[in-house]
């Protein structure tokens, strides 16, 4: 190490401090928001996770199971699951961003925030908006696949070159079908869900003393919320396609007894009551339903309930998160 001359300390130079009063200091909210984005931009594993989830659920499951199920309420299965995959990415992004607080408060920057005079509410809002913005970015990855999965191509027995041409034509039409306003509305819904889920994560993080893996959060929180939101199966409705028309009458009667009505080649399915109850109890179901309504014009739940849950939940969540952060930053 070179012998360096130590100059006058930074504290000796005059600084005027602007002592902001009030709980919301915009510059603090902004700097904490920006920090979340910088952290995300510098962590390639998060983007990789979002991409791999999208490919697994949308492409592999969507097309793989789509072959057997063909359609849900007239939508190809890959199209049906797309809003669900967006929700899955939003859940992961928000909770990952929030759970990093456990690390942050023990060995990271949060202790610096802890002794600073910055108001807790501003720090919390920065964190929540940051987590929600990262969630919108990750949720937009499946959205990029929307024109691909909605591409409708009639199969013709022609050469490969012409098949590609057909597909590209269909892709062009699908792309043209997407309204810009819908994309903005979808981003809005993702952001609101992001705020809610980051808040949930902040609450969980405030109760966790130590941290030994994200697995418990993933298996215990994200996956139940995802599976019980009607993301990969419909609550009720017509499943199948034209290939189901040759079902014998006796089998129809038998199927009706277990809750499946078969008519004109479609299966009409209803979830068992306990599974329905769980889906109805899951707030994510309503947000997902709204997202599906925006992107696909198809809803399974009353729209008024979708709007109510989507807009009121973030407000409640912010309050909960603010108290949780207060608990963490200003212990009693």
């Amino acid at each position: 190490m070179t012998d360096d001359v130590i100059g006058r300390a930074p504290s000796s130079a005059p600084v005027t401090i602007h002592r902001a009063r009030g709980a919301i200091v915009p510059s603090v909210v902004f700097v904490m928001w920006r920090r979340e984005l910088l952290r995300f931009a510098r962590d390639r594993s998060q983007i990789f996770g979002a991409l791999s989830r999208t490919i697994l659920w949308l492409i592999i499951l969507g097309y793989g199971l789509g072959v057997a199920l063909r359609e849900v309420e007239g939508y190809p299965y890959a199209v049906y699951v797309l809003p669900g995959v967006i929700v899955l990415n939003v859940l992961y992004a928000s909770l990952q961003s929030a759970i990093s607080l456990v690390w942050d408060k023990n060995v990271g920057l949060l202790r610096e925030v802890l002794v600073s005079p910055a108001p807790v509410l501003s720090v919390t809002l920065g964190k929540l908006f940051g987590g929600a913005t990262v969630a919108v970015i990750q949720g937009s990855i499946p959205l990029l696949f929307l024109p691909i999965v909605t591409t409708d191509v009639e199969y013709r027995d022609v050469g490969f070159g012409e098949q590609v041409g057909d597909w590209l034509e269909g892709f062009g039409e699908a792309l043209a079908d997407i309204a810009v306003i819908d994309i903005f509305a979808a981003w809005g819904v993702m952001f609101l869900l992001g705020v809610t889920m980051t808040s949930l994560g902040v609450f969980i993080a405030s109760r966790m003393r130590t941290f030994e893996g994200f697995g418990a959060i993933s298996n215990g929180v994200i996956q139940p919320l995802y599976f019980l939101s009607g993301s990969i199966f419909p609550l009720r409705g017509a499943v199948g396609g034209t290939g189901f028309s040759q079902i014998p009458a006796e089998l129809r009667v038998e199927l009706r007894r277990v809750g499946v009505r078969v008519a004109s080649g479609m299966w009409f399915v209803t979830l068992p009551w306990w599974l329905q109850a769980l889906v109805f109890a899951n707030p994510v179901s309503y947000v997902l339903d709204l997202l599906r309504y925006i992107l696909l014009d198809f809803e399974q739940l009353p729209l008024w309930a979708d709007y109510t849950v989507t807009f009121t939940l973030p407000l409640l969540a912010v309050v909960v998160a603010a108290f949780a952060m207060r608990r963490m930053l200003r212990p009693r």
């Binding site: 190490m1 600084v15 401090i17 594993s45 990271g108 030994e212």
Partner: protein, 285 residues
């Protein structure tokens, strides 16, 4: 390192006339039945350099956290530059600078970005921020590496960054929690020289340490054990009084006052987290 003249104005508790920079009156903090800090009273004069010594689990960190308003006391009162640590906690926060035991920086951000966050948190106006950051970077001798991510920094570089950061908002009292722990001798010497320059500029410094030669260079030393202040005074006086032999040092005083018994502590939540991280913990940083 020259030993400073002992300051005689401030006694163990308070002294009439001069207002202490840091003061605690019968301060205590209980966790259930356990008193981490018990009826603790002391004062630090403006410009004084005070070291708090004590075995592991003596309550040093709890005391430090109460004085820096991170946790409230369960009994007694305390003040920093005359501001009450409970009633005027935000005034206290603006008045003090703090360096934690291990780095409280964001590893994924650059040195400048970390300092920028500090500047915003402490309300340094936008126009002055980049100048304040430049000054801090220069003082920390990180001009070459200011735009590199802190993850690539050595322990010494992080500590210099944190010390410079703690000074950005012009604090009048500096709290250092074992500032030289984990540094190599060069890093330790360099950091110590920086702290000494602050002292010559009139900064009040309160530090906890296990490094006894460093404590010997302080104006006054307090020895804490089991939540209580066992002894306080200028190092040479303590050595005369409790050293026991002709060429005794502060270590002898420390052992004589706190005993030879080992103070084993169970791993804290933080220790467990750090070891998880070292093993390559996922999704954490």
């Amino acid at each position: 390192m020259a030993k400073a003249e002992p300051s005689s104005e401030v006694s163990a508790s308070t002294s009439p006339g001069s207002r202490p920079a840091i003061e605690a009156k019968n301060i205590g903090r209980r966790y259930g039945d356990v008193a981490a800090v018990d009826d603790f009273s002391f004062g630090v004069a403006p410009g004084e350099f005070f070291a708090l010594l004590g075995p592991n689990g003596a309550g040093k960190s709890t005391l430090l956290h109460m004085l820096t308003t991170i946790i409230p006391p369960t009994s007694g009162t305390g003040s920093v530059m005359g501001f009450d640590i409970v009633k005027e906690s935000s005034e206290v926060r603006w008045t003090l600078g703090m360096v934690f035991q291990d780095p409280a920086v964001d590893d994924r951000l650059t040195a400048r970005e970390n300092l920028h966050i500090h500047a915003v948190l402490y309300g340094i106006p936008r126009k002055q921020r980049s100048e304040a950051i430049d000054r801090a970077i220069e003082w920390a001798s990180l001009t070459e590496t200011g735009k590199r991510r802190v993850a690539t920094f050595s322990g010494g570089m992080k500590r210099r960054l944190e010390l410079a950061r703690a000074l950005m908002h012009g604090p009048r009292v500096l709290f250092l929690d074992e500032p030289t722990i984990g540094l190599d001798p060069q890093g330790r010497r360099n950091l110590w020289e920086r702290i000494s320059t602050l002292r010559s500029e009139g900064m009040t410094v309160f530090m906890t340490t296990h490094n006894l030669p460093e404590a010997e260079a302080c104006d006054r030393v307090g020895i804490m054990d089991r939540g209580k202040l066992v002894e306080v005074g200028p190092p040479h006086e303590l050595i005369e009084k409790h050293g026991g032999s002709e060429n005794a040092n502060l270590e002898d005083v420390f052992i004589n006052l706190t005993g030879r018994q080992l103070r084993d502590e169970v791993a804290t939540a933080r220790d467990r987290l750090v070891s998880f991280g070292k093993k390559g913990g996922e999704h954490t940083r």
